[in-house]
């Protein structure tokens, strides 16, 4: 009779291993769906899979780091190699954001949940909106908090927004050769406000270049939404060091 509880215990342990195996396989399968959903830009599937994962009690950081960010990294690699295009990037970012919106409330108090805070706008004199919005969307999709100031943004507005939101990065956009020079005024205003050491400055837009960015004292330049995210991550790691 003494042997009976031991037998039950062994069976129970084996059963537990088996159940965990099935359970984890089920979870893995679902989260692989999330990876695919983000990669293919399937917003509905991304949202429903995230809801299931939350209901199953999977840690938000595991969902984000293990699957969503990996999917965005793969999308970024495909974009850089010319196998994916801006609409693919956007759909992936949209799916990622849909999932992140569900996960964010569960991450409150977890400072590692945000990649950083970004203030973004098209500079004064320029109404071109969409390139800047692409960058904003990609940044949000990749875990940055984004404060979008819109278009025709003055240097004062940029400085005020940095102070108000305690931003880590300013992103400026211009599409016209005649408005890109205003970026220099913004850099000067940031310096004058004593914020240059606290906030990194990124610039982008069709007529810009690396050399222009260096000339005006910007910390980073990117020519597309994907590399803007990479550059922002790079600048954040510099900020943290």
């Amino acid at each position: 009779m003494e042997i009976f509880p031991e037998y039950i215990c062994k069976v129970r342990n084996k059963l537990s291993v088996f159940i965990n195996l099935i359970y984890n396989k089920h979870i893995m399968s679902d989260l692989n769906n999330l990876y695919d959903a983000v990669l293919t830009g399937n917003l509905n599937l991304a949202v429903s899979t995230t809801q299931e994962a939350i209901a199953e009690g999977i840690a938000p950081q595991e969902i984000i780091n293990g699957y969503m960010i990996k999917a965005m990294e793969e999308m970024g690699a495909r974009f850089e190699s010319g196998k994916a295009f801006v609409p693919n990037l956007l759909m992936a970012a949209r799916a990622m954001k849909g999932s992140l919106d569900l996960l964010k409330p569960l991450l409150k108090g977890d400072t590692s949940a945000s990649m950083g805070k970004v203030v973004i706008g098209t500079v004064k004199g320029d109404l071109h909106d969409i390139g800047k919005n692409l960058v904003a969307s990609m940044m949000e999709g990749c875990g940055f908090e984004v404060i979008n100031l819109g278009v025709d943004v003055s240097s004062d507005k940029f400085v005020e927004a940095v102070k108000e939101h305690n931003a880590d990065i300013i992103c400026m956009s211009a599409l016209l050769t005649t408005t890109m020079n205003y970026m220099k005024e913004v850099v000067a205003a940031v310096e004058a406000a004593g914020l240059k050491d606290k906030v990194k400055i990124m610039v982008g837009g069709a007529p810009l270049s690396h050399s222009f960015a260096s000339q005006i004292g910007a910390d980073g330049y990117s020519d597309n939404a994907n590399s803007a995210v990479q550059k922002a991550k790079e600048l954040m790691s510099v900020n943290l060091n």
Partner: protein, 228 residues
């Protein structure tokens, strides 16, 4: 001022330009994106009422940087002035996708779906460009009656002509031409609008835009491969 109120069907939209605006080089969108694009185009046909207009002006090049039209001075810069050398007359024009399309863009922006917004923006840009082609064709037809030709169109904000000079350019039209207003930064509303000018004369030539001499390899309007 000669004005035309149009339907989208009156314009020749160039799909390749839309694909270019969307970031596709020589590739075409996949089935899913193409389907979404069709939805935007269908909507555009329902709501978009493009408007174009032009005014003939007397003018002359003052020096290598300046041009005077109907007594109003412009600092058009050396690139544009070089192309206007043979011009005996000028025409200024506006072309817009119209308020209906602008409202549609605002709705999409408010709804917060970046994908729809991006597609509609790309289509709107091409509508405005197609409207420019339409008005340029009208000017071409008109001046051809006198055996004149026209240059390529040039717009404030490009080729070194500052966007703030849109204020002077608009002084050559009646108030709010084709429903276009300028804001304090000299930018146009509806946003999908283009203003500009062309040179006119018996000997002018339609010189292609000088992508090959321009140093902006990342320019989204680039038509030629940049030589490093």
């Amino acid at each position: 001022m000669f004005t035309y109120e149009l339907h989208l069907g009156d314009l020749q939209l160039n799909r390749e330009e839309i694909y270019l605006n969307l970031g596709y080089g020589k590739t075409v969108p996949d089935e899913h994106v193409a389907e979404m694009l069709e939805t935007v185009l269908l909507k555009a046909h329902l709501i978009c009422r493009p408007r174009v207009g032009y005014v003939f002006c007397e003018g002359q090049l003052m020096d290598k940087n300046h041009l005077e039209l109907n007594g109003v001075s412009f600092k058009t810069g050396p690139i544009i002035n070089n192309y206007l050398q043979q011009s005996a007359h000028f025409a200024v024009f506006v072309a817009t996708a119209g308020k209906g399309y602008d409202d549609y863009l605002h709705q999409l922006k408010k709804a917060g779906d970046i994908m729809d917004e991006f597609l509609a923006d790309a289509v709107g840009s091409e509508i405005a460009e197609a409207a420019v082609r339409y008005v340029v064709e009208k000017i071409t037809d008109e001046v051809a009656k006198k055996a004149f030709k026209i240059t390529k169109p040039y717009s404030p904000g490009y080729c070194g002509w500052h966007v703030r000079e849109q204020q002077q350019l608009f002084s050559l039209f009646p108030e709010e031409p084709c429903g276009i207003k300028l804001n304090t930064s000299s930018l146009m509303h509806p946003v999908k609008s283009v203003s500009g000018m062309v040179g006119i004369g018996p000997d002018v030539t339609e010189t292609p835009y000088a992508c090959d001499i321009c140093g902006l390899p990342s320019c989204f309007k680039r038509k030629t491969t940049h030589q490093e």
